[in-house]
């Protein structure tokens, strides 16, 4: 079966690749484009390690049929930092020891980014909801929740909104 051409924007850069029928976006990103930040955990939508943003919305890339995203804007953890400068979420995750093995971290970061982009001042409950589709087998979640709370504070501080 001939592969199909697909164009999309990844972290601000236009990309053109060929995808097979039935190929999922996680495979396209990792094998087709070489962005290894979204992780393969289950390929069943249950772990969240593959979470990316498509047109600003959180999606499980493993359950996304690649050919459906033509013309979309895809964001992964690879695009979070700004040159050598970490994103406030990455910084907060580091300071709060929110990663042990780190396998869930890219998915957690993208789920958290989806939340903060929409709601810069989330409650603890909002945060728990936002990461409810992401499993972490190491940290017990508390350091992750703390980091997102802290990053929200930082982001608000940066825009002068304060607490």
């Amino acid at each position: 079966m001939a592969k199909k051409p697909l164009q999309f924007n990844l972290n601000g850069e236009d990309r053109a690749v060929f995808v097979a029928d039935g190929e999922n976006l996680l495979d396209t990103l990792r094998r087709g484009v070489g962005d290894l930040t979204p992780k393969f955990g289950c390929a069943q939508g249950t772990c969240g390690a593959c979470t990316v943003l498509i047109d600003g919305e959180p999606r499980m890339s493993c359950l996304t049929l690649s050919e459906t995203i033509g013309g979309s804007r895809v964001e992964t953890t690879a695009g979070l930092g700004d040159g050598g400068k970490l994103h406030p979420l990455q910084d907060a995750f580091m300071r709060n020891f929110s990663a042990q093995c780190g396998y869930c971290t890219p998915g957690m970061l993208m789920a958290a980014k989806a939340l903060l982009d929409r709601n810069p001042a989330p409650s603890r409950d909002d945060i728990v909801q936002a990461i409810s589709g992401n499993l972490c087998r190491c940290t017990g979640y508390e350091p992750i929740i703390r980091a997102i709370e802290e990053a929200a504070g930082m982001a608000r501080g940066a825009t002068g909104a304060g607490r």
Binding site: M1, A20, D21, G22, N24, A43, Q44, G45, G48, T51, I54, E57, P58, R59, M60, C62, L63, T64, L65, E67, T68, A111, A114, L115, V128, Q129, A130, S132, G133, N134
Partner: protein, 269 residues
Amino acid sequence: MPFRVETFDRIEDAARALAANRNARFYGGGTILMCAVNAGSQSFDTLIRINRNDLGIIRAEGDRMSIGSGVTMSQVLQSRDLDFLHPVAIAVGGPAIRTAATVGGNLYAAAPYGDFATALLALGAEVQFGGDGGSAMPIDQFLADRDRHRERIVSNILVRRPGDAGSFRFRKVTRVKPKGVAVMTLAALLPRSRSGIRVAYGNMAPTPVRAAAVERALEGANLDEAGIGPALAAATRGLSPASDALASQWYRQEVAPVHLKRMLLGQAG
């Protein structure tokens, strides 16, 4: 045969292709189908999809709301007209599932899934198919014979807003919070007049089902401890739920009256 994805512009063409190929499935949001594709399922070899998002529309149609089958749970949550369905949509999966999971796909979702379909059953919704000129079908009839409708494309669902505030109730029982698969789901339409009552269960049978004995016992009854007694006694009459990894049949039968009571009395917990 290699795996194929066929994309059409018009629902009529997609419906024809689907009807002509027993090994094809219509692609909604893919949250169930892609699990099967990723696992190498041999039960289908073709996905059929529509290019334009004509199925993603929410609009008023007379005194009813029409929800396109391609509307996602996130879109339901963003619609003020569908506020009565917000507690249902938020109960489906996590945020990154809800942005893809469609209303149409939920109608076909096998147990333990189908929370949204359970709510639509309680609300007495109707299912409309695209491309074959058929008329709207009561959801009861659709669910009773669901496998036969796999070769058709649901275009939209018609549902009436519940007339009285608080007359629509929904409750999903899970072991994990805030997100988890349902041990059982309960939904009810309880008009103040106490006639036209509808009560539906999810995960108490292979598809969402109505609790006919409960409905009969509630006709004209007061929604207080004494009034709902006969309905609780009839909670699982005629039902033989499955035993699965979430709960045994015995457990489901024992706890159904507890959750039915909490739903009918509007109690938390």
